[in-house]
Amino acid sequence: MRITVKLFATFRDGRQKIYDMDLPEVTTVQNIISSLGIEKSEVAILLINGRDGDFDKELVEGDTVSLFPPVGGG
């Protein structure tokens, strides 16, 4: 299945901004961050299709995963 993964802020250091991944069925966000070398504890905000996501949720075809380290402002 096709999954889009978007990285932001320091997660882009040494990585791409965006990945179009072709992944097997039964893939979770945890699998994706492991493949990118990102620790779960580094992820402050995880969105799946713009909504609050879960590391263990099984993704479905066409999902977009957005990952952020701690960020803020105002």
Partner: protein
Amino acid sequence: MYGYIGKVLRINLKQKSVNVESLDLENAKKFIGGRGLGTKLFMDEVDPKVDALSAENKLFIVAGPLTGTNVPTGGRYMVVTKSPLSNTIASSNSGGFWGAELKAAGYDVIIIEDKADEPVYITIEDDKVEIKDAARLWGKVVSEVTDELKNEMPEKSRILTIGPGGEKLSRMASIMNDYERAAGRSGVGAVMGSKNLKAIAVKGSGKAQVFDEEKLKEVNSECLKKIKENGVTGAGLPTYGTAVLVNIINENGVFPTNNFQTSVFEKADDISGETMAKDYLLKKSPCYRCPIACGRIVKIEDMGLEVGGPEYETLWAFGSDCGVSDIVAIFKANYYCNEYGLDTISVGATIAAAMELYQKGYIKEEELEGLSLEFGNADAVVEWTKKIGKGEGLGAKMAEGSYRLCEQYGVPELSMSVKKLELPAYDPRGIMGHGLQYATSNRGGCHVRGYMISPEILALPEKLDRFTLEGKAQWVKTFQDLTAVIDSLGLCLFTSFAMDASMYTAAYNAVCGTEHTAETLLEAGERIYNLERLFNIASGIDPKEDTLPKRLLEDPIPDGPSKGNVHRLSELLPEYYTLRGWGEDGIPEAERLSKLGL
């Protein structure tokens, strides 16, 4: 006396008189300082019904008890007056170094009364205070005035000034200090301009006394540790500035685009903090004793400039809200706002409203004098900013702010504002608590009176579901009360990403010898919030104005991750009023006021 200096500088511009008065310490402690004390002084001295641009309005420039101390970020001051934009209380906060210098010169408060017959400026060197002829400065932009006065004053003086925007009484005019820091919102620059006051230059040699130096060292090191360890204040903000929000707010589908007609912007990454840091950032620009240093200096190559870079709100206002993805055009619009002394949020949002007026046929081609008002036109945001600053043509109408502009065309509902203050960069249709905060903020459409983005989007101090209503009214109240405390102490709101109420309490007690608990300090915040509310009601603001633009209550977001949502304000407001101890009509009731000592 600890923390406070104990002195109020009262300057009457008509009489050209300067008087130093004692600060009523009991009053000061009850309302902390800054925003709270300024509001109390206003209520004691001025009828809230006053015409904001008349000589009878007064300008209260107030430092906090922690301003000028070693507490991290303790350099802030507050301008309190009646807003010519919203007719509500205006309390506009600024960083930089000017506020700390005011304390060093030996004052907690400056009260500016009446109106000078001709343009003047004020110089303060400790107890030497003079009112001088500003004819040569009038009409000049902020950097010119600042350079001139820095040359005239002793080394390391700090300059606060208005630009041409304030002189021409734009209701979006800001008061600028240290070149690029702004008491930005609510049109406080127009109040200063209406008094024919161009600038206040200050140099001080003293310092406020601290009650318990040893304890303060301990507290400061704890504060610094928390700030450094926190991912937002220790890494996110220092690396990217506030601009880091562009992508996250857009990814959530709450990044208002084309005057809130939608809330996802395809080209958000082009105007993001990541792009700014990678391609344009020259260096950081920290305020007084700030370990966060979110301020940016960027280059504008084709103008040969190295200037203050835009904040997140500015990138949004001139960017997606106007459909613009050219980051350099935004740098330029930001630069002209800083030079003309204009609020970037209100100016960008007003240009966006004008673009929609044009799109819908209300503004006609012949009014444009050859300029474009098409969404997405990058030159347009730069050129219209200049027109607003100079008060020329349609720019003069726009200088009145988006509400009055849209009202002139018979469609005030196209102004995305609350109480006539333009909303900032978050679509409340997808962030329920934040929408309640917009509706109930005492100065109108403002994000920094209770920054609910923190729990609803950024997961600080914990993650709340942004679409649910449960518990949100209580969160908003607590955030509003805590923010009133921080604004009154003289610290930066960004510390609250890392620090909790107990740490502010410890810092205040160490500096001033007060015996607050976190609860009593939050109660002081609630007292301040209620006093501001009383100001607004006395000014004639109907609590029915605790609302949002019709679009945000009735038209669902048309696409993106927050598609299909409107803001459910009517389900939140009654609970909020109850928690505040206000009646169903939104009027504070005697019982709560009495409990708060009001």
